[in-house]
Chain length 425, copies 2
């Protein structure tokens, strides 16, 4: 699959002149990534495919095995070719990445091991705007503590934690500068969680749509597509964009705020205080407002969102006129904004996430009709619109994936020999 | 200044395994670029700064001198430091790049030598929609032939020609698939010019806004800014975007079509046949329509555009209410769309080109007021709005620059010894 989109600025990619230790770390990472992306294979084949010499590969594999990141054995897996011999395969069950998402009415956590297997997954309905920042961070800390415990029980030590927030995030110090739909301004999420968790693994904070785009790029149905646009369908609507195989971050990591572009109802007030934002016509609130009166159970934030969306889908399938009209309206408005993104980015794929994916079968026809009208280039410039298969887990998967990338960049972060206690300070 | 944004897809960047000839070409280019970007210096200093050994640098400089791309001499130029000795400096007067632009009511040509000096510049008022493709290409071929002759008289041989077109361009075969404001669809510009010119240098066709963005990145007042958005202010409005130091091209080179996003007057028909495009409220026609009645001389396409814009500026300075209202309207609408681009791209700089730059002093206040209202991130996410200093020459400069890049990538494209006849087949 090649490299994943870069999460951080180009500036962080610059490296010091390579000394021996750096070269060793780079080569350890090269072998580990090759095994992850290409599957089990012999040392000889790794040497041939990476251009490293055989003695070096043997030494690297030995060190990776000491760090329990690879195992060797006579495993004859599918896809393995070449002469028989001891096959090296990714182990990586002893290391994991944790992704957390804070959204308007829930917090979620997901733990992936190095092989991409889900070790743990949990979602909790939370009225975050009402809870406020401190109590929300308490709840998130509890979710993470549970996740670390589950991972530890499975023998996996966290390589890092990435927190996805639906808002503007200053990555450098993990401060959420503005999250309109949860009413946060300048909340020090990174420091707050560090103080609560007291863990030794790195914590990062990122925009949820950016992490979702990374998840799609790394493990979604369109994985590896060099130019893709991901849209979060939640209370808020954000965009994560991969340009030529790299995540678009902008000068300060604040790119992708498509939900607050002036493509909505000019008279309707948005969560951010402005009028006319695109979110006001395509966000979850716009759909539910169109589909049902305020007292209707689909509005009840105490009920699980999937259940409420299933109810909307049931009504649409039953031919309920109001529900169908609301879905058509959202689909058309989604097309208006998606057309802007296609005109501007010329992506291969536009991925619809969150509730857009859940109800996508009802949104797609009006959306495509609108795109047909609005995109300048014939044939939509070759863009396809695809429903995400990662559902509401895209952001947490992207977060867990980013946390694991540090191990692939530098496998020496995982200690040798006896397993250190998971999550210990 | 580092590398310029990549014009073509990543796919073209992949190189075959390095053989000796490739290594030699790469190192020739490295030395040449270093001299262009850092100024005259001694061989010893070049060796020190590039990491090449001294003997290699001497051999490379000798070859570059044979190709007349560098000269050596005891030139004590400003900026040259270090111990005295023979200084190597970029010569490059014997090679040039040609940029041509086709826009709605003019064609322009500009020739740059390798040092960035303008050897020739010409602009011709042309009613391209009325002329049609064949006669337009005849006129362009005549402009290029004149330019090649002027360059030859100065001893400069063209390294290439890049044609900027305000429309959708399929770079791979130089076909303009759609140029709404000149009424072109599937016009084979590359083949048409090749047949007319019969030259041996490479010809490329590109979107005008993309080339303008490259020009700004390479030689504008904000040169080297890694995240910038350029807006063409002409009859049509297009965008060229540099993301993390690379030109945004999208999956098929069709990115940046901001003029046809639905941010304009929903009732007004655009040159592309749609209603409500942003161009309908910020394009040159919208300004002139607002500022003056149809019979007014500022509308006369037979008059030079600079003269007409100077007249608009004069009226604004005289306090003409209608002119000022039209400028305020355009400034506000420009802000609405620029806000979308800032929300989506989080650039450091938005550069206003073409007529936006000429009349920028009247547009800036309403534009900034609108941005203040519309951009989600506090302080406009750090973005500045800047008037281009390249005026209407940005696209042709970008084109000439791209043509020269091939020489910097591979100096062996310039023949050794006796100068080959310029532009000969």
């Amino acid at each position: 699959m090649g490299t994943v989109p870069t999460l951080y600025d180009g500036s962080s990619e610059r490296r010091a002149p390579a000394d021996q230790a750096t070269v060793r770390r780079t080569n350890l990472g090269l072998v580990l990534r090759h095994l992850r992306d290409s599957g089990p294979r012999s040392r000889a084949r790794i040497a041939q495919e990476t251009g490293l010499n055989k003695a070096t590969v043997s030494s690297l594999v030995a060190e990776l095995a000491e760090r329990r990141l690879v195992s060797t054995g006579d495993v004859d897996r599918a896809g393995s070719v070449g002469r028989p011999g001891l096959t090296v395969h990714l182990d990586g069950a002893c290391v994991c990445g944790i992704g957390v998402e804070l959204n308007v009415d829930y917090a979620a956590v997901l733990v992936l091991d190095l092989r991409g297997a889900v070790l743990h997954e949990q979602r909790r309905a939370l009225d975050i705007p009402a809870l406020g920042a401190e109590r929300t961070l308490d709840a998130v800390a509890a979710l993470v503590t549970d996740a670390v415990a589950v991972a530890a029980a499975a023998g996996a030590r966290p390589a890092g934690l990435t927190v996805a927030v639906a808002g503007l995030v200053r990555s450098v110090d993990g401060v959420v500068t503005l999250a309109p739909n949860i009413g946060w301004r300048d909340v020090a999420v990174l420091d707050g969680l560090r103080a609560r968790l007291g863990v030794d693994f790195p914590i990062r904070v990122e925009n949820d749509a950016n992490l979702s785009a990374i998840a799609e790029w790394a493990m979604g149905s369109e994985a590896g597509t060099p130019d893709l646009v991901y849209l979060t369908g939640e209370v808020g609507v954000g965009g994560g964009v991969v340009v030529a195989g790299r995540l678009l971050r902008g000068a300060g990591g604040l790119s992708g705020e498509v939900g607050h572009t002036s493509l909505g109802d000019p008279d309707r007030v948005c969560g951010c205080g402005r009028r006319g934002c695109w979110e006001t016509v395509v966000g979850l609130a716009a759909l539910l407002r169109g589909a049902a009166d305020p007292g209707d159970p689909v509005h009840d934030p105490g009920r699980d969102l999937e259940t409420r969306l299933a109810e909307v889908a049931r009504r649409a399938e039953d031919g309920d006129a109001r529900t169908l009209a609301a879905l058509e309206q959202v689909g058309t408005s989604l097309g208006t904004g998606a057309a802007v993104l296609i005109n501007v980015f010329n992506p291969r794929v536009v991925l619809l996430g969150g509730y857009f994916a859940v109800l996508g079968r009802f949104l797609m026809a009006p959306l495509l009709a609108e795109l047909e009208t609005r995109v300048l280039a014939p044939g939509m410039a070759g863009a396809r619109v695809v429903l995400s298969t990662l559902g509401f887990t895209a952001a947490v998967r992207g977060g867990a994936h980013v946390a694991l990338e540090s191990v692939l960049d530098d496998p020496t972060l995982v200690p040798v020999a006896a397993l250190a206690p998971a999550g210990a300070p």
